[in-house]
């Protein structure tokens, strides 16, 4: 036997099994939960839209009701005062608005009447029920009641229209030019809670 040729090679084969599995993923977690914490604070906000003189004070706590104040002078106000409000109530409670003469002196021989018209239909939700007509005194009286979660919209022609009228003490005659007293009427929104 002669010497073997110096070129020689051997080959080995490997077989690989590659496994890349998508179905394994489907068996594992394929759902996830996102929790959203939803807060809706109770609110009771009131404001005027008016060209008449007015002062506005706000209080953010429901314990101290929100108030606005309007100065009422000679004669009836023209038809330019609207009361706007936004309200979110807790279950089983409602908000209401009272009005009172808060400063100035009511003359003894005259009455001050307030006319509150129904909500004008803008906004959305459970608007309050207007009293129609009320003789204002220095004690708060409810002029809009049973306000649920709602908003009237903001500005003129939104919410309830307010009109004042001075009358003689027997409430018969309208007085066009009263004595010149200026009184302040304060409107307060409160909760039945």
């Amino acid at each position: 036997m002669g010497s073997r040729n110096k070129i020689s090679a051997s080959i080995l084969l490997f077989i690989f099994g590659f496994i890349l599995s998508g179905s394994v993923f489907a068996q594992r977690r394929n759902t996830a939960k996102m929790n959203l914490t939803c807060n809706i604070p109770a609110i009771a906000l009131v404001d005027f839209a008016s060209s008449d003189l007015r002062t506005v004070t706000y209080n953010s706590s429901l314990l101290d009701p929100n108030q606005v104040e309007q100065l009422v002078s000679d004669g009836a106000t023209d038809g330019t005062t609207w009361i706007n409000y936004s309200s979110i109530v807790r279950n089983g409670t409602t908000n209401y608005i009272t009005a009172e003469v808060s400063s100035g002196e009511l003359p003894g021989d005259m009455t001050l009447n307030l006319y509150v018209s129904p909500d004008n239909g803008e906004g959305a939700g459970s608007k309050g029920t207007a009293c129609g007509q009320m003789v204002l005194t220095s004690y708060p009286q409810i002029i809009i009641s049973n306000i649920g979660s709602c908003f009237t919209g903001r500005g003129l022609n939104r919410g309830h229209h307010l009109r004042y009228e001075w009358r003689s003490i027997d409430n018969e005659n309208v007085i066009e030019k009263p004595h010149g007293n200026i009184v302040s009427v304060t409107y307060t929104i409160s909760s039945t809670e």
């Binding site: 998508g22 939960k33 929790n35 939803c38 809706i40 404001d47 409000y85 109530v89 906004g123």
Partner: protein, 143 residues
């Protein structure tokens, strides 16, 4: 595989202006995904919700990630998908192939929630604190 941070997303509806509608409920969550599909398969992400408070509406805009932590076929998102209590699951993302989003809590698909008051049922809105709405996200196969 689908995952998300356990922390709740906080939303609030209110106003400080008399006469105005309550508004302002926005918040963002993230969903992380790792996916390996079979050839020709795509996946979708759907959402179903419970616990949305009465008189309110929830919608979500979903955007696939595009940053350096993600890769592969991440699919197409959607805008303002409406989430209604008890409704059948709504599709948020389609066309997901093999992909990954990164595993950090701010990696992944961005879910921008919009929570608003519904005009038609505004009177039924009730003040509440801490009510929880739960969105269940599911990644499914489309063979």
């Amino acid at each position: 595989m689908l995952g998300t941070s356990a922390a709740a997303i906080s939303l609030q509806l209110t106003t400080t202006t008399a006469g105005n509608q309550i508004s302002g409920g926005t918040g963002t969550g993230y969903a992380q995904v790792s996916s390996i599909v079979s050839s020709g398969e795509t996946r979708t992400i759907t959402a179903a919700v419970t616990g949305v408070p009465t008189g309110t509406s929830l919608s979500v805009t979903t955007t696939p990630p595009s940053g350096g932590n993600s890769g592969g076929v991440l699919g197409t998102g959607s805008s303002n998908a409406s989430l209604v209590n008890g409704a059948s699951a709504v599709t948020l993302v389609t066309g997901i192939g093999s992909c990954y989003t990164g595993a950090a809590s701010t990696d992944g698909y961005t879910l921008d929630y919009t929570w608003s008051s519904a005009l038609g049922s505004y009177g039924s809105i009730v003040a509440s604190a801490g009510a929880t709405a739960t969105v269940v996200l599911t990644i499914t196969n489309i063979p």
